[in-house]
């Protein structure tokens, strides 16, 4: 489970693990139409960020991320994410598996 440390009103520190990526993949597979945009965006854009530097807010694909956290990071202007490489690679693999199905529900191409 993600470790959330609220430093102050503006600052939050988030620590995640491989299990949190599995939680995101499981949730995405439970409702592919709902998460289609996130699935497509994460799969298509994560390589741009060399996988482990991916930012969920770069392309507004943070719904799954926020589901996993159980909190809303948007309330904090400063947040840091401590995640092992395994988190990103597991998430990428999961999104890859769901990608073709997700495209059926969200066929619009993602902006650059």
């Amino acid at each position: 489970m993600a470790e959330i440390t609220i430093v102050d009103k503006q600052t939050i520190k988030i620590g995640v693990s491989l299990k949190d990526a599995i939680k995101m993949v499981t949730e995405a597979s439970r409702d592919i139409p709902l998460y289609a945009f996130d699935i497509i965006t994460i799969y298509e854009k994560m390589p741009v960020f060399e996988y482990t530097y991916f930012c969920f807010y770069a392309y507004d694909s943070a719904t799954l991320f926020e589901y996993m956290l159980d909190i809303d990071p948007k309330q904090y202007n400063s947040f840091s994410l401590d995640a092992p490489d395994s988190f990103f690679y597991a998430l990428y693999g999961g999104m890859a598996a769901l990608y073709e199905q997700a495209k059926q529900f969200h066929p619009v191409a993602i902006e650059e």
Partner: protein, 77 residues
């Protein structure tokens, strides 16, 4: 040498707005102008996004590189 014409302090914006504000600001720069980005961590993901969206159109120069404050001069060719 590009002149900095505008500063974006990313710590003043919530996460879902940071990238939008930064790219909107960059897009409004004229050629040879630059923006100063201030952040509380190294904006490496943002640099990857810049390279994807604006390949060969900008330079990225650290004016301050941590540990608590990062300032990056982003210049438009």
């Amino acid at each position: 040498m590009s002149n900095i014409t505008v500063t974006v302090n990313a710590t003043e914006y919530p996460p879902q707005l940071k990238h939008k504000v930064i790219f909107q600001t960059y897009n409004q720069l004229k050629p040879s102008e630059a923006m100063l980005l201030v952040n509380d961590h190294d904006p490496v993901p943002l640099r990857f996004q810049f390279e994807s969206m604006h390949p060969n159109e900008f330079t990225w120069e650290y004016l301050e590189q941590g540990p608590d404050m990062f300032q990056v001069k982003i210049s438009k060719f």
